[in-house]
């Protein structure tokens, strides 16, 4: 007990001395009058000042006696540089605020339109029959346990018929089912689906010799997840080009 109280007294004493000492120091010098605030200056330059679209320019700035510097609203360091790639002629504003006031600086970067490239001759179309077929004759999808074409499918098939006729293609229609039904019945249902598309093509004027149908039932699924998304993907007629 005795020791702690003696410690306390020592600390207090030191503190008091320090306070006094510091105070003493301060008392010695009289505060000088504040100097007049120095003028704020700001400069902003762009290099190069003129670019083509897609190229970039560098903005460089410097300020003096500024505490708050912003480039087009974004706070930046008092001095620095930044790369910009404007797509059209832009004027950049630098704002510098200091004790003495605010200064602004601008720099403009001109953007010239892209030079038209020398016209090269149009490339010969590299789209093959297979690619065109894949684009124009797409899979059609069916409702649950149904084999009749939905309105959107009917449209698609009618449009496909035009290309098929025009190109003189031979088409195989493959009927598929989702995996929930029975193997043998699904072969029959797939057959029905393929036949529906065939009838639609025939109605659109495609010759029967150009059409072949086959059913894969549920034997060749596109996906195997057990959800409606996948099942819908499998309830389809798939078209292939016969060479």
């Amino acid at each position: 007990m005795n020791k702690s109280t003696s410690n306390r007294i020592v600390v207090l004493g030191v503190l008091a001395f320090l306070m006094v000492a510091s105070g003493c120091k301060k008392k010695e010098t009289a505060p000088p009058p504040p100097p007049p605030p120095k003028a704020v200056s700001a400069t902003l330059s762009a290099n190069p000042t003129s670019i083509e679209a897609g190229q970039s320019a560098t903005l460089t700035w410097s300020t003096e006696n500024a505490t708050d510097v912003a480039l087009d609203g974004n706070k930046v360091d008092p001095s620095g540089s930044q790369t910009v790639s404007p797509t059209q002629t832009t004027t950049y504003h630098l704002t510098a605020k200091g004790a003495a006031g605010t200064q602004e600086a601008t720099a403009q970067v001109s953007v010239a339109a892209k030079a038209t490239p020398t016209p090269t001759p149009a490339p010969t179309p590299t789209v093959t029959d297979d690619q065109l077929f894949a684009q124009m004759v797409k899979d059609v999808y069916f409702d649950y346990d149904k084999a009749d074409l939905r309105p959107d499918a009917q449209q698609a098939v009618a449009q496909a018929a035009q290309v098929i006729k025009q190109k003189g293609w031979k088409v195989q229609i493959e009927g598929n089912c989702d995996d929930r039904g029975s193997t043998e019945y699904n072969l029959s249902l797939g057959e029905h689906r393929a036949d529906s598309a065939k009838q639609a093509l025939l109605q659109a004027g495609v010759s029967p010799d150009s059409i072949k149908t086959i059913s894969y039932g549920k034997e060749k699924p596109q996906c195997t997840e057990q959800n409606e998304d996948c099942w819908q993907k499998n309830r389809r007629d798939h078209f292939t080009l016969l060479h």
């Binding site: 346990d145 195989q172 193997t183 043998e184 019945y185 072969l187 029959s188 057959e191 036949d195 034997e219």
Partner: protein, 451 residues
């Protein structure tokens, strides 16, 4: 007033109870009826099946004896016509020869057996010798029913084969005219070689082996009544065709090609005709019948979207099949000339009809309440054709499909995905003795041989 309340509750309760009882009675009546037709009567002879004795100390004798005893027990247990006496009731001394037999020890309680099998097995010079007897132990006067001797090259396969033969002999004697199935085979589709091919196995799942090597997709195996040829549908480069595999020659043999897609073949039980579904005529699948060599195909059904025909094996005068002509698939029956079409199911999604050997019942797969979003669970049902009464065989809500009857009309083999993927299961037609037969790969569309 409180009294009125009580009687009100009482009468409704009674009414409810009455309805429940009536309902259970009706379904019990349906069950009784179908049980009668399944030849699964309540009375079963009590049979004791002690292990056969090892006839000598040859190194191969003990292991082959074990295989033999297990197979014999399972065959007699699986037959569905015996009450196997529990082994815990057996007397301590097991006879290996008739001279060692003490009939009273087996015929009296606790075993209280009606008949007894016993015998011995020994391997001599690479051959396995089996002597087996079947005795009537309740009748001390004239006890022997059967006495048999077998000899084959010593191997586990042959030990099994001999057990199957002996079991079938016993069943033929005691089953009063209905042959045993211990030597029958099941044909099925398996993916375990990488793609769907036809495989074969013993009725109890042993001896599984690949038959076809189509290298494409092979479906719907159907063995001929004499067991020599197997029809199936195979995917060629541009269509499905009915193909014929000769088990004797070990390869496919010629079978006429038809235009369109051809699938789901079925044999008449006299081996003279094959029915199948084909889109050769209209681009939609219809039922056709051809000769056993594929010639003379003529169209039977006038509907479209028809598939999975099956003959009435007792008469061959009728064909059951599946038709989507009204929307969802339903089961129909017609005469073998295409006339007299009758619709058998009235709702849901019904497929895969299988006709019982006695001609009285149809097994089929059914989703009673079928609709979008329903996860496609189906169960096996049995229908009495004359009365249209139906009982449900499987109940677990997974996908159960493709029932096929055993030749004795008491067992059904089917595919089920209750373990997560499709496997082949067998069950007695009263729902007991459920067994998983395949475990590897995905296995489907089982077909039980005719004998």
């Amino acid at each position: 007033m409180a009294k009125e309340k009580r009687t009100g509750k009482g009468t409704t309760g009674l009414l409810l109870l009455g309805f429940m009882l009536l309902g259970s009675f009706l379904s019990a009546a349906a069950q009784d009826r179908i049980k009668i037709e399944l030849n699964m009567g309540q009375e079963r002879p009590r049979i004791a099946v002690p292990d056969f004795k090892a006839a000598n100390a040859d190194a191969q004798t003990a292991p082959l004896n074990t295989v033999f005893n297990q197979t014999l027990w399972n065959d007699l247990d699986n037959a569905g016509i015996f009450d196997l006496v529990a082994k815990s009731f057996y007397p301590s001394q097991t006879p290996g020869q008739p001279a060692e037999l003490q009939a009273k020890a087996w015929g009296d309680p606790p075993p209280n057996a009606g008949v007894l099998t016993f015998g011995n097995l020994g391997v001599n010079n690479g051959k396995v010798d089996v002597q087996g007897w079947l005795y009537d132990v309740k009748n001390p006067g004239a006890p022997q029913i059967l006495g048999k001797q077998y000899k084959e090259d010593a191997s586990p396969d042959n030990a099994r084969l001999i057990a199957h033969r002996f079991a079938d002999e016993i069943i033929a004697r005691l089953g009063s005219g209905i042959a045993g199935i211990a030597e029958s085979q099941i044909y099925f589709v398996s993916t375990r070689s990488g793609n769907k091919e036809i495989w074969q196995m013993d009725y109890d799942g042993a001896n599984q082996k690949q038959i076809t090597k189509l290298g494409s997709i092979a479906l719907s195996p159907r063995i001929s009544p004499d067991g020599s040829r197997m029809a199936f549908s195979g995917l060629t480069r541009d269509s499905w065709q009915i193909m014929m595999y000769s088990l004797e020659l070990g390869r496919t043999v010629a079978f006429p090609r038809n235009s369109g897609d051809n699938f789901s073949p079925a044999w008449a039980s006299d081996g003279t005709k094959i029915a199948f579904a084909s889109s050769m005529h209209s681009g939609r699948s219809e039922i056709f019948v051809a000769d056993a060599n594929g010639g003379g195909a003529r169209r039977l059904s006038t509907g479209k979207g028809d598939v999975s025909p099956v003959f009435n094996p007792k008469t061959n005068g009728q064909i059951a099949w599946v038709s989507g002509r009204t929307g969802l698939p339903q089961i129909y029956v017609m005469d073998a000339d295409g006339s007299n079409v009758q619709r058998m199911t009235d709702q849901g999604y019904a497929v895969s009809p299988a006709w019982s050997p006695n001609g009285l019942l149809l097994a089929f797969a059914w989703v009673r309440n079928y609709g979008p979003g329903v996860l496609g669970g189906s169960d096996i049902y049995l229908m009495d054709i004359a009365s249209r009464q139906i009982i449900q065989l499987t109940h677990d809500g997974g996908r159960n499909d493709f029932p096929s009857w055993s030749p004795d009309g008491r067992h059904i083999v089917f595919q089920s995905n209750r373990t997560g993927n499709e496997q082949i299961w067998s069950v007695l037609a009263d729902g007991t003795h459920l067994q998983q037969l395949t475990h590897q790969g995905r296995n489907s569309q089982p077909n039980w041989s005719f004998k």
